[in-house]
């Protein structure tokens, strides 16, 4: 049998699918050889970016770089290899009274991916991006050297790599700070909003909350446009919890995780089923406001409770469209975007609205800038390209941009914001696509 590293690869959106070389190694020497002997290499973590950002001719999978290195339990600083999943980090740190400063909506991403995408969470307005808490990382660069990058050492590479989508090299390990928690629970308030005006007002009022995010029904039109539910939260203290949760406040019971066993047939998700889902979701909460305590998994990772949920979009896959529109024009832009989506009939199961705070000027490759951000899932079908083009027009008109981690078909002028990251060694299909359409 001849070795055969060529495999079918696709990321979370199941679009696009390519046949490329995947190599996975834990020996630094052999990783160096791989980089030395190939051009057009890109690192790939758990494949949870949506589109083509981690696809290339030669893919280096970090799944074998999965070891913890050190944990300063006194000061809350942990160091691990880049392929360690955030879920594994949480398993170690939560029982010790620590949490991640910044986490995206899934815990099944790698630490390396979190840096390369500079992920944001529900607390961006208060605590910024993942990179704010990264002390240092080691990077295998285009010359096959391993360098340490921090705010004081190789700082140009440090900042270029943050949000740099893997184009500066392969992140091998990272050291980052953790946040103290007393319990694994969140004090949560869910507030209903009937329209955009209400939800925007709610965002302004909720600025003092650490976490806030809104689910939005994107198929509503007219006076109901922007109908949504805001969820805001704070890490709960032990004394405020209901008695039962106080018993073992840092340990959650293991839950059974159901799995979507196969790709759902294409007809299952359509305008009507999405409308029905949104109706039920909005109306399951009767009161204007509900206050309760939920475990951190329910609050941060509602979708992680179903394995392989991406399969509900069928074999042809789906895209996630996430853009940001500067704050001043945010409301006007969002209204236009929601109208365009409602008119197109391409419903989104999952539409999430958030207000970003100020960006970190050093992290010039990071996606978040101050303004409103909306993330939407769309099934890939014949009408989608047109919708994306229309949405891109609006985003451009209002001076916004697209999140590269989720992009797979947006206009290049909205996605070419990366700086100082050009070399023939590390190239992704996404980067090529964006660069080619620029010429």
């Amino acid at each position: 049998m001849k070795p055969n590293f060529i495999q079918k690869v696709t990321n979370w959106g199941n679009f696009p699918v390519v046949e490329k070389e995947i190599k996975s190694e834990d020996s630094i020497e052999r990783i160096k050889d791989f980089v030395r002997n190939n051009n057009e290499v890109i690192a790939r973590g758990n494949g949870r970016c949506y589109g083509d950002a981690s696809l290339s001719e030669h893919i280096f999978s970090t799944r074998r770089l999965n070891k913890f290195i050190s944990f300063d339990r006194l000061n809350g600083v942990i160091e691990c290899e880049s392929g360690v999943l955030l879920s594994h980090v949480l398993e170690v740190i939560v029982p010790q009274g620590y949490f991640l400063y910044v986490t995206p909506g899934t815990k099944f991403i790698t630490v390396g991916g979190a840096i390369a995408s500079d992920v944001h969470g529900k607390n961006h307005h208060a605590e910024g991006c993942f990179s704010e808490y990264v002390e240092e990382f080691s990077l295998l660069n285009e010359n096959s050297e391993v360098i340490t990058c921090s705010r004081t050492e190789n700082e140009d590479k440090f900042w270029a790599t943050i949000g740099g989508m893997g184009l500066t090299g392969i992140i091998l390990s990272a050291k980052f700070k953790l946040k103290n928690i007393e319990t694994a629970y969140i004090r949560q308030e869910s507030v209903k909003a009937q329209n955009l005006d209400e939800i925007f007002k709610l965002f302004d009022e909720s600025e003092s909350w650490t976490y806030n995010v809104a689910w939005i029904d994107c198929l509503q039109r007219g006076k109901n446009i922007g109908r949504s539910i805001m969820m805001r939260g704070e890490h709960a203290f032990k004394h405020e919890l209901p008695k039962k949760m106080q018993e073992n406040p840092l340990r959650l019971k293991k839950k059974m995780i159901p799995k979507i066993p196969f790709y759902f047939p294409d007809f299952l998700l359509n305008k009507f089923t999405v409308k029905l889902f949104n109706f039920l979701y909005f109306n399951k909460q009767q009161q204007k406001m509900v206050k309760n305590y939920v475990d951190y998994e329910t609050f941060f990772y509602p979708l992680d409770v179903v394995n392989d949920w991406n399969k509900i979009y069928g074999k042809s896959g789906f895209i996630q469209y996430q853009m940001v529109i500067p704050k001043e024009k945010g409301k006007e832009g969002m209204e236009k975007i929601l109208q365009t989506i409602a008119k197109s009939g391409n419903g989104s199961f999952l539409a999430v609205l958030k207000l970003f705070g100020k960006n970190n000027p050093h992290a010039y490759n990071s996606f978040p800038t101050e303004g409103y951000t909306l993330a939407l899932d769309f099934k890939v079908n014949s009408r989608l390209k047109k919708l994306v083009t229309d949405l891109d027009e609006i985003v451009e008109e209002y001076g916004g941009r697209i999140y590269l981690t989720k992009d797979s078909m947006s206009k290049s002028t909205l996605t070419n914001y990366l700086q100082n990251v050009q070399n023939p060694k590390f190239v992704s299909m996404q980067h090529k696509r964006i660069m080619n359409s620029n010429n």
């Binding site: 070795p3 590293f5 834990d26």
Partner: protein, 241 residues
């Protein structure tokens, strides 16, 4: 806990599985021929489980000083030592390759297993979990040097289990089929027949707790090997397996 072949991904997954299940050991002894990479695993275990480990160098291709192992005892031994060797036609007639495959998988390994078996016999308790291979169930043209060494190991383990039964020591023979590990990386394996180290660890842990004698990592393999073992020789010799 004693781990032979600590750099094996299955061994590492098994150690994690046991510790996740809440079992604690005074020390986990990590035997390895590569101290550097095992050091990484030891640190990982320390961060994850706050578990004491000790790394002990053991190279089966070198002279072994058993005095160094005198104080090492445990109720659980996991052995994942193995060497696939080169599977090419040229390698078949390469004596160095052949000897190394036989030594690491059988000839040099058995004395080490015997050494720890004797300790368990003296304490009249313990479990030895040893990875053999489906390749040892019947010699096939694709890898029969490796297969014959594993067949020797399987026979040794079966005898040892029999000998140890009245002495309160249990022996579990594990026969992983295709594994998704560094050892097989790049081979075009059928995903339905290929297990991840994590899956293997789960299966082995269950077999250990149920005091099974032999365990295939994926149940399908027991059926496949049953068929392969029962093909009459006059047909078998003509097959390309």
């Amino acid at each position: 806990m004693i781990v032979l072949g600590s750099n094996s991904e299955i061994a590492q997954a098994f150690v994690e599985k046991v510790l996740e299940a809440g079992e604690k050991y005074q020390t986990v002894f990590l035997f390895t021929s590569n101290r550097e990479t095992t050091q990484k695993f030891a640190q990982h275990i320390d961060v994850k489980f706050f578990q004491q480990t000790e790394i002990i160098e053991l190279d089966l291709m070198k002279e072994i000083d058993y005095n160094k192992f005198d104080d090492i005892t445990s109720d659980l031994l996991f052995c994942a030592t193995g060497y696939l060797g080169e599977g090419t036609d040229e390698a078949l007639y390469n004596n160095k390759n052949t000897e190394k495959v036989i030594d690491i998988n059988f000839a040099k390994l058995v004395p080490v297993l015997n050494f720890f078996a004797a300790k368990m016999e003296r304490q009249r308790s313990g479990t030895m979990i040893v990875l053999s291979s489906v390749a040892g169930d019947r010699g096939r043209q694709s890898n029969f040097i490796y297969g014959s060494a594993k067949a020797g190991l399987t026979a040794y383990l079966s005898g040892l289990r029999n000998y140890m039964f009245s002495r309160k020591v249990h022996v579990l023979t594990v026969k992983p089929g295709f594994m998704d590990t560094k050892m097989t990386e790049g081979l075009p394996l059928n995903p339905a027949l290929t297990a991840t180290p994590r899956q293997a660890a789960e299966e082995i842990y269950t077999a250990y707790k149920r005091k099974k004698n032999t365990a295939y990592v994926l149940p399908l393999w027991s059926i496949i090997m049953l068929i392969i073992k029962n093909i009459p020789e006059f047909i078998f010799k003509k097959l390309k397996l």
